[in-house]
Symmetry: C2
Subunit: 293 residues, 2 copies
């Protein structure tokens, strides 16, 4: 495939890595970037991630074949407002946000005339480090990218976005937005909240300094995801609140069962939970090793 012009709204880790991946495979002609700061645009130009910088969304999107929104999720409505006024009927728009129900609602409200040209997307990939400096051409290789087209989405638009992601080495699959949000709440958003809660609980103990000093290496591996960007995770919690609440409450139920088991000295209940957990995780890992990622 060839995308003559790609407009990249937000030139961070994800947007930058997409541009690099497409350039590496020769799938894109020109990448036009828009960013919140001039500094980011300067770096992105310097690194060759983008070919041209624009100040305004409208200027970047003009004559673009694909517009990729890769900004913090809460900015998406404003960007859609700008796009609805300026994009041509041939332009396809997509995003990379972690909560698809939220994005679909935003599209229906803020991109009403062109909602059929919008393909909600979510690459399941990331790194500890953020920013365009951390972007790499291989970030999406063998990773899953989930697209959640609606019944009104133009199938050709969906196919174009899928083809774009495949150029970066990703495996693309379609899913209902609601299912996506439930799956991500369970496998990504819940673990992050659980890790944040654990570290925060310990940090608020009177002997916190000693706790962190004596914590073994395993503790720091376990809580690595609690070093993620707090603002990004606040936004994910607020935009995927419904699905997140459901799994958080279910998880609290499991914690309650374990508290009861410890209170009752119920060794069998504890062992059953721990064994089920170990078995599932080990089986999941085997599936990964033999599977597509």
């Amino acid at each position: 495939m060839t995308i003559d012009r790609l407009a990249l709204i937000g030139v961070g880790l994800i947007g930058g890595s997409l541009a690099r991946g497409l350039k590496r495979s020769g799938a894109v002609g020109q990448v036009v970037g828009v960013a919140r700061t001039r500094e980011t645009l300067r770096k992105a130009l310097e690194l060759g991630v983008i070919d041209r910088a624009e100040d305004r969304v409208e200027a970047a999107a003009a004559a673009a074949d694909i517009v990729v929104i890769a900004t913090p999720m809460q900015t998406i409505p404003l960007i859609l407002d700008s796009l609805d006024a300026c994009i041509g009927r041939h332009t396809v728009v997509t995003d990379v946000g972690s909560a698809k129900g939220y994005v679909v609602k935003a599209v229906e409200t803020h991109l009403p005339r062109n909602r059929d040209r919008f393909v909600p997307g979510h690459p399941i990939a990331g790194r500890e480090h953020a920013g365009v400096e951390a972007s790499t051409a291989d970030l999406f290789e063998k990773k899953s990218v989930i697209l959640t087209p609606c019944e009104y989405t133009d199938p050709e638009a969906t196919e174009l976005v899928a083809a774009m992601w495949r150029e970066t080495g990703a495996n693309v699959e379609n899913m209902d937005a609601r299912i996506h949000d439930q799956v991500l709440a369970a496998t990504s958003h819940l673990p992050h909240v659980v890790a944040y809660a654990l570290v925060d609980f310990l940090a608020r103990q009177s002997e916190a300094d000693m706790l962190f000093r004596l914590a073994a290496g395993g503790f720091y591996d376990f809580t690595r995801i609690a070093s993620s960007d707090p603002v990004m995770w606040r936004d994910i919690c607020l935009t995927n609140d419904e699905a997140l609440l459901a799994v958080l409450q279910g998880y609290r139920g499991t914690i309650d069962q374990l508290i009861d088991a410890v209170k009752r000295s119920d060794g069998d209940a504890l062992r059953e939970c721990f064994e089920r957990s170990k078995r599932s995780r080990d089986a999941g890992l085997e599936g990964k090793a033999g599977g597509s990622r």
Copy 2:
């Protein structure tokens, strides 16, 4: 230092690594091992971890300078019964269990005549793999070993055990048994229970297969400790139940606060929690890098 004869009751990862570490530094003459199975003793002899195998605790402990109990914690009372009847007044006994209040109680009940010769100990080190085959001479290098002597413990016995651990490259510190149990509950036992609960909760969802397939790599790093030995962790939960319950209930309180914050769409509360968590963890890591481990 030189330990002429060390009796090792339990020849697994921890006991085996201690024997190897002492042999490497030339700090031990003969290591006599006792294990639950002949197969383990055969392997330990073959690997040179022990020099002699014995079937019975009494035979191994006779004429030993130090007896190290490195078995699952729930077997400690029975082993102490055997030792109380046979050890000489010069013999020092220690253990490696994760819950020191439990061990102290067991010593007072099952080693009454020699309780001043017993030094409760806990090396904070481990690996994913168990068994004597996984033991290494450097397992304790730069790791913390905590000793929790009681007011009746012979200070010379405590010093002997401390010197032994220092020969393996460990940093030894003394601590009250109660404090040890609270610290370990917070930094090790709680994280394990949290990880087990998370994986078990997901495993019991109807779409569990899809969840584990779509979980990103970060999920498997995060839950690595949920692949730990379920029986060992059941025993830790049962033997350190009081301190574990306190932190589990406190942690549940933090989860409840986050649930409320998501319900209220309280972005400030979420961000504050996530920022405090990230700051504490990052600061703890810096302390580690610049500190003693």
